[in-house]
């Protein structure tokens, strides 16, 4: 009988729900569960946290996730793989050790993957920034540079007996491919890597395969979204793939949910670039083989790229924001007047240039960038956002919106103000020879 392994999706982003992963580990008989918790800008944001606190920079929800899931993983014999290390995999590893001790889940071998922090290498090689077309040195100083690592370090950690693998910037599908290569004895050739990358890509957003971000109560109803179940995949050594979910969980898994997720964030479906392969999804087909069970075939791949994508993080200053509602007759007219007042005040009183100010009318077509006629809304919410160099200046935006209460149009209500520090990300490519993943495996108890 050909070898088979079962990998499950534990999280699709840093803020994802925790309970679906617990149910999956307890009931699905998983060999591995993967928590994908890094978006494009998460690592850069983690770097900013690390700069103000050297022990921070990893996913703030890591301890809560591990505490909830690790006991079930140990009973089920399920390996846990996550890129929650973000900008500080070493500290995430230490934290993991403490959670293992506290929950009595040891002894277990813990693999920590580093080497994705390539800021020094980027400074030396000075590659071109994709978004500007100019070398890194010609722009502002990046605070972070993280290369997308591939599947190799994950496989290496598992081969060294790791029951938990914590990484920084490993590409989302590579977390899964690394586990598949280990379990199924796959080489790093492009065909199997293309199949494994398809599996990883389908699972990496967790609930997005089972009806999350798919649901539309009229055209695409999904039952039980409050108890949405996360998916898993059964993969055989010869490359057959079947996707499933727990029958007792909410959600739906069928050709339509799979087709949508396959194309999520994909540009050219015949050339989906990862550190491991140039994956080709253009021939993929899905077949429903049972209730909430779908077979996926037709993926393949070509040679992996010579250079790795690197995410550059920059301090982007602050963004201040304020919102206020208007309703009833002429609400859009009053909101527009309010927006003009705030714009004028920010420019003339506070010296914030108009180019740094964005005025939106929520409920009157803001989400569609004004492309659709607003009609005659029942209510509209003015939103003003502006860039500012520091917190103090950013707070002026919300202040000016709140002061509309007594100085602006009639019937303004529910004003809210806020400000947050902005991280801007750009990207460049780096010769893969300049990037050296490091795998450290230790026993924790």
């Amino acid at each position: 009988m050909t070898r088979r392994t079962r990998v499950g999706a534990g999280a699709g982003f840093a803020g994802d729900r925790i309970d679906p992963a617990v149910r999956l580990v307890e009931q699905a008989g998983l060999d591995h569960i993967v928590f994908e918790c890094l978006g494009e800008r998460t690592v850069a944001a983690g770097t900013l946290r690390r700069l103000s606190d050297p022990a921070a920079g990893y996913d703030p929800l890591l301890a809560a996730r591990l505490t909830a899931v690790l006991p079930a993983c140990r009973s089920a014999g399920t390996t846990l793989i996550t890129n929650s290390g973000a900008a500080n995999p070493e500290a995430a590893g230490e934290l993991t050790g403490r959670v293992v001790a506290r929950t009595g889940c040891g002894p277990v071998r813990l693999g920590v993957v580093t080497g994705d922090d390539v800021l020094d290498a980027v400074r030396r090689a000075d590659p071109v920034v994709a978004e500007t077309g100019r070398p890194v040195s010609a722009g502002p100083e990046p605070v972070s540079a993280h290369a997308y690592l591939g599947a190799e370090p994950v496989t290496e950690a598992l081969e060294a007996g790791a029951g938990i693998v914590v990484t920084g910037r490993v590409a989302d599908p590579s977390l899964y491919l690394g586990a598949l290569r280990h379990d199924l004895g796959w080489d790093d050739g492009p065909h199997l890597s293309g199949i494994g990358t398809m599996v990883g890509h389908l699972l990496e957003c967790a609930g997005q395969l089972t009806g999350g971000y798919f649901a539309d109560p009229v055209t695409k109803p999904v039952p039980g979204l409050a108890r949405l179940g996360f998916p898993f995949a059964d993969v055989t050594a010869d490359g057959r793939v079947e996707l499933g979910k727990l029958a007792s969980d909410g959600g739906r898994l069928d050709r339509r949910t799979c087709a949508e997720q396959l194309l999520y964030e994909v540009g050219d479906p015949a050339a989906y670039l990862t550190p491991d392969v140039t994956a080709d999804f253009s021939g993929v087909t899905f077949r429903e083989t049972g209730p909430d069970t779908v077979a996926a075939g037709g993926a393949t791949g070509r040679t992996r790229p010579d250079r790795l994508k690197v995410t550059l993080g920059y301090r982007g200053g602050w963004v201040g924001e304020g919102q206020i509602s208007y309703a009833g007759p002429r609400c859009l007219d009053r909101a527009r007047l309010a927006g003009e007042i705030v714009r004028e005040r920010l420019r003339d009183v506070h010296g914030i240039p108009e180019d740094d100010v964005e005025v939106e009318f929520l409920g009157a077509g803001a989400a569609h960038r004004g492309l659709a006629a607003p009609g005659d809304p029942v209510e509209v919410r003015l939103r003003v956002a502006a860039r500012a160099p520091d917190r103090e200046r950013a707070d002026l935006v919300g202040w000016e919106v709140e002061s509309l209460y007594t100085n602006g149009p009639a019937g303004g209500g529910g004003a809210r103000a806020g400000a947050h520090e902005q991280v801007v990300v750009r990207s460049c490519l780096l010769d893969r020879a300049l990037v050296r993943p490091v795998v450290t495996v230790t026993e924790v108890r």
Binding site: L263, G267, T285, E360
Partner: protein, 108 residues
Amino acid sequence: MRVDDVADVRAGDKGDTLMLAVLPRDEAGWALLREQLTGAAVRRHFGPAVTGPVDRYEVPGLPALVFRLPGALGGGVTGSLTLDGHGKALSYHLLTLELEDRGGPDGR
């Protein structure tokens, strides 16, 4: 007839580019989209929100069309001041694009 009558849309983002996958609900919808939902038609529909040509890719096995809309995210997730920097809510605008209904084999 609008795209909404025959297909679903899913948004994804990479940097400042909005990726839209359009998935017809049946064969007739696929034929209609393949013929009428060109990159140029999508670019026209998104008007000034797009800064360059819209590429279109076909995935016949699903079936689906994929479009890349450059510049649609006003600076991308981290550079944009708009509320929905990902363009996720913006994606549904595609469903309002009008198609010419030429009547399918079932007489619709």
